[in-house]
């Protein structure tokens, strides 16, 4: 096709692009996925029966502070990586802060408890399914981000994929808190994080395959 004709046809119908169009599209993709994840939590896993009561206690909010702060940092990195000239900035390094904070809380919790309780605190009742559940709940949100990325222009595909995976994992973990009754910090630090890391790794592998444009 003649280049002049191409330019004419490309310029024919220009819709204005709103500011923050990228962030908005990422949000829409994640929200759509989050709705699917929420439905999965409610219908398949079930909300924790003591949810109302739990939300009045500190532990629930510590868990949410952990997962949400990770989710926000990873989401920020993902949106930055959606631009062709974008790097993650410090956003991915910020992920260390909630981890360190939760690790300190876990340390305090363990020290305050008798040593005989440590294994139980660490494994809880659901250690065998927790990471898997977080990972599975991340999937719809990751798919939502893949949809968002169809209009994006990432040039660092593995990193963008990893970032999207981590964001999906963290948001998935956030919704998982509505089901999961575990309360010890060392449990959350281990098994929730593992699920998120797995989501990040899968994202890293899929990025170069699925994020091309």
């Amino acid at each position: 096709m003649n280049t002049d004709d191409l330019i004419a046809s490309l310029s024919a119908d220009i819709a204005p692009v709103p500011r923050h169009a990228l962030g908005r599209r990422a949000a829409i993709g994640m929200m759509a996925g989050a709705i699917a994840t929420l439905l999965t939590v409610v219908v398949w896993l079930g909300l924790r029966p003591d949810l109302g009561h739990a939300m009045m206690g500190a532990t629930f909010w510590i868990k949410w502070a952990y997962t949400i702060s990770l989710a926000l940092a990873a989401t920020q990195a993902t949106v930055r990586l959606a631009r062709p000239d974008g790097g993650p900035g410090i956003a991915l390094r910020l992920l260390a802060l909630p981890v360190i904070a939760l690790a300190l809380i876990a340390l305090v919790e363990l020290i305050s408890a008798p040593r005989s309780a440590w294994l139980e605190m660490w494994l809880g009742h659901s250690w065998m399914v927790c990471s898997r559940n977080v990972f599975l709940l991340a999937l719809p949100i990751f798919l939502g981000l893949l949809w968002s990325f169809r209009r994006f222009a990432p040039t660092r595909l593995a990193l963008a994929g990893m970032s999207a995976g981590l964001a999906a994992g963290a948001w998935g973990a956030t919704l998982y808190c509505l089901h999961c009754p575990e309360t010890s910090a060392v449990f959350v630090l281990t098994w929730y994080s593992l699920g998120m890391i797995l989501a990040g790794l899968v994202g890293r592998l899929l990025g170069p395959l699925l994020l091309r444009w």
């Binding site: 280049t3 330019i7 490309l10 310029s11 204005p16 692009v17 040039t155």
Partner: protein
Amino acid sequence: MRDDSGDMRTLMLAGLAGDSAAHATLLRALLPVLRRFYRRRLAGRDDDIEDCVQETLIAVHQRRATYDPDRPFGAWVHAIARYKLIDRYRRMGRTVPIDDQPELADEFDFAQASDAHADLERLLDTIPAKQAAVLRATRIEGLSTAEAAERLGIGESDVKVSAHRALKTLADRVRGAWR
């Protein structure tokens, strides 16, 4: 003929606001920059060069929402052009250099596209006259090395060395302006 074709960033912003004419002007203004970029890397493969130019224009258009107005416009286009180039290499079965250092000429070219900071004439006044003359002849008027050498009465290798030095100085200046 000046290379900076009006302020491309301004055109881009106008296009983002919905101005079709500005958008068309921008795409046309990008043609020489992109053609030079691909010609340097795909020398002799005219079909590939024009294909890449078209692909990049399409990408600039379709992905225009990924431009951040607070960042240099030239760097954004350059990133898209490099991405499409690597794609093309892959399709050609050509090994892609792991660390594809942008050539100085690329940096200067795309920097010009950015904004008023890179006022070409002002910049050329800040470097030695001979280097400026070589750049004007080869970059702005598009003369070949041989033609520029003949016009300026110097040897061809002198043209190349002077151009290289001039680009390095200017690239450093331009990059420095953004910090």
